[in-house]
Symmetry: C2
Subunit: 276 residues, 2 copies
């Protein structure tokens, strides 16, 4: 059996988890940015969504998910869920580097804003922790951070009503006051929200920066590959993509295929697993 990693290369997959489908938008950006890498995605569909659950419950579920990924020999863990990221502050778990979505998303928002007025759109759970506000103001102490929970966005995205007059109306209902407050940067602080990018864009117009967690985390990972903090896969390796779900669902499999088909070269392998 060949070793899966040497000093310079590591062909083990990158582990990614979310409560459900949302993290697929992060996975999509990662697959696009790193076509040689293999990925193992865990969707904790049996216990979704995390957005409405308490911090302790989300922390416990997230640790179980990370243990599962570690047991499958990943080389790094991406917490592709904002709610889970509010509860996972550690940068390593069982010796593996851990990337949450809040740190890179906050950093990218701070890099892009000019007038220092930043809006954060997220689930009720993420907003109530104040995680983005704290992180952004740690980087830019005089930034003004406005937050908005958008509970309809997740089911709208799951319906596939991506560019739809109804979705536009919901977006206007939630976001109009942020546009009026003249924010110049908007963090899409839930991994489902990039699916509704067109509707969000319609409210704010083209001059506002929309920060996508998947893009932010890809930029950070690219830096860590460059600085050799983690080793990349070999260029000629046959990369794989496995999606493990805690509760099987045709709806989820169809959505994953639809969202990933444009960036994937090989087939997705689906599994049903237990993480408890």
């Amino acid at each position: 059996m060949a070793l899966s990693f040497t000093e310079d290369h590591d062909n083990r997959p990158i582990g990614v988890f979310d409560s459900g489908i949302g993290g697929i938008t992060v996975l999509r950006e990662l697959v696009k940015a790193f076509p040689n890498e293999s990925f193992l995605y865990l969707g904790d569909t049996a216990r979704l969504p995390y957005g409405s659950k308490s911090g302790d419950t989300v922390k416990q579920y997230s640790q179980q998910n990370m243990k599962f990924l570690a047991s499958r020999d990943v080389k790094a863990i991406v917490v592709a869920c904002n709610t889970a990221s509010t509860q996972i502050s550690e940068s390593s778990f069982m010796g593996l580097p851990v990337y949450n979505v809040i740190d890179p998303g906050s950093a990218l928002a701070c890099a892009r804003t000019e007038n220092k007025k930043i809006a954060v759109l997220a689930t009720r759970g993420t907003i109530s922790t104040g995680a983005y506000t704290k992180k952004i103001q740690a980087i830019l102490p005089d930034a003004e951070v406005l937050t908005q929970a958008c509970p309809l966005f997740v089911p709208l995205a799951e319906e596939g009503w991506y560019d739809d007059p109804l979705t536009n109306l919901v977006a206007f209902r939630y976001l109009q006051h942020l546009k009026a407050a003249d924010v110049d940067t908007v963090v899409m602080g839930c991994t489902h929200y990039p699916l509704l990018k067109n509707s969000i864009r319609k409210v704010f117009g083209n001059h506002v920066h929309l920060v996508d967690s998947g893009e932010a985390i890809s930029l950070l990972l690219a830096e860590d590959f460059k600085s050799k903090k983690i080793a990349p896969a070999e260029e000629n390796q046959h990369s794989t993509l496995t999606i493990a779900l805690t509760d099987a669902s045709d709806h989820f499999e169809n959505l994953s295929n639809e969202l990933l088909c444009a960036v994937m070269s090989s087939e997705i392998h689906f599994e049903t697993v237990s993480v408890i």
Copy 2:
């Protein structure tokens, strides 16, 4: 200590469970219909929603919830969740009578329809089991049953957008084809949906019968009190209402108070519990 029940009376509470807030619409009808009864409501908020989960998972969670209610000495169990009702076919559990919402809802729809064209609105999970269609056609073999999953309805209800142009638009999107198909009876086959009754009514007009699970189950319970299948509470007992949640939530407590204040005489007692 006084005995809580005699041959004719039983002051023990009726246990009611749902994954979250939806079952409160059933509880509201029960409290309205039986003001002398005490109730213990269990909202499995740590694992909500059930609508998107597999049958086996929902069955396991439901049995854990029923065990919890039995351990708290209820005299009967109401499964105030359509998805859970699709998995609980037994009419008793640990010696306690069990009432699901699908049997009485189907029976009431069959009693009310004239043209035998019935629509069932529910979550994806409930629809995919075919439970309502089977039950309705067991009573009325030549009934035509049209089904429609309405995933946006639950978050719209939870936002409190009960009588709102946006909700009306979503209702039209989901239901217009059922109106065009000339159904004369509509089963609101998810316990959240009665909160959106006004919007659903706007699509179908006043001549269509809307079947509410809470109303259907209250009619069945009234029959069982009358036939002495279960004993009612004494008329002068001080009735209580306890809401136990598997994951505490201010949002849920506020919504419960809002939905129940019109029918409650005493205060609601909230608890956080574990059912595993």
